[in-house]
Amino acid sequence: MIDVLYFAWVRERIGLPRERVETSAATVAALIEELSAREERYAAAFADLSAIRVAVDQELTDMDAPLQGVREVAFFPPMTGG
């Protein structure tokens, strides 16, 4: 079980801020494929992966990051702080 978090317009498109996901996906990319296959709103949120950033256990990483032993994955658009 992994906590999956969504922020900004990713959260709005998927329609929830976080959920617990039962998955055996080996990587972030595989998890996105699983989610996108579930429902149209996930497919819509993940349609353009160049617009998606990912953090694994609160560290920025990329789509190839492994999920073994991971507790938390977050998806969001490019950050706009400052």
Binding site: W9, A55, E59, A74, P77, P78, M79, T80, G81, G82
Partner: protein, 150 residues
């Protein structure tokens, strides 16, 4: 090193006054303050979302990197989240160093990284409705200038 992520407003003058005071090894103090522009009167409000837990970690890592790269005597980051009106202050950074070059470089480095590597997202409510602020290519490009600099 003082990192704060908060909903409440901060007192810019008091913060800088306190940050700069009582440190006789500091010759240079640089501050940056970000404010909500009213975009010619069209902006009604800005909402800042963040990722509690990761935000503090990400800012701390950026600040630690600045301290490692430049000769700093101290640095401060305050970043707000939640709903802000035009003219309100969003955030501030301050850097203290023996010499001005280090203080300026570290402050710009902090801003460039906070802009694109700390988990904040801005949503604007204006004349055209509600929209998420898009990241700018120039903000991503700004990071590359720190690749070479010691």
């Amino acid at each position: 090193m003082d990192i704060r992520v908060q909903q409440a407003a901060f007192a810019l003058g008091q913060e800088l006054e306190r940050f700069a005071a009582g440190r006789p090894d500091t010759g240079a103090v640089v501050s940056f303050t970000g404010q909500v522009r009213d975009e010619g009167g069209t902006l009604a409000s800005m909402e800042i979302e963040h990722y509690p837990g990761m935000t503090e970690k990400a800012i701390s890592a950026i600040a630690a990197e600045a301290v490692a790269r430049w000769s700093l005597t101290d640095c401060l980051v305050i970043h707000r989240y939640g709903r802000l009106a035009p003219g309100e202050r969003i955030m501030m950074v301050a850097t203290a160093a023996p010499h001005r070059g280090d203080a300026f470089a570290a402050a710009e480095f902090l801003m460039d990284y906070l802009k694109s590597r700390a988990p904040f997202w801005k949503k604007e409510t204006g004349a055209d409705g509600v929209s998420w602020v898009a990241s700018k290519e120039e903000d991503e490009a700004a990071l590359t200038r720190w690749d070479r600099t010691p």
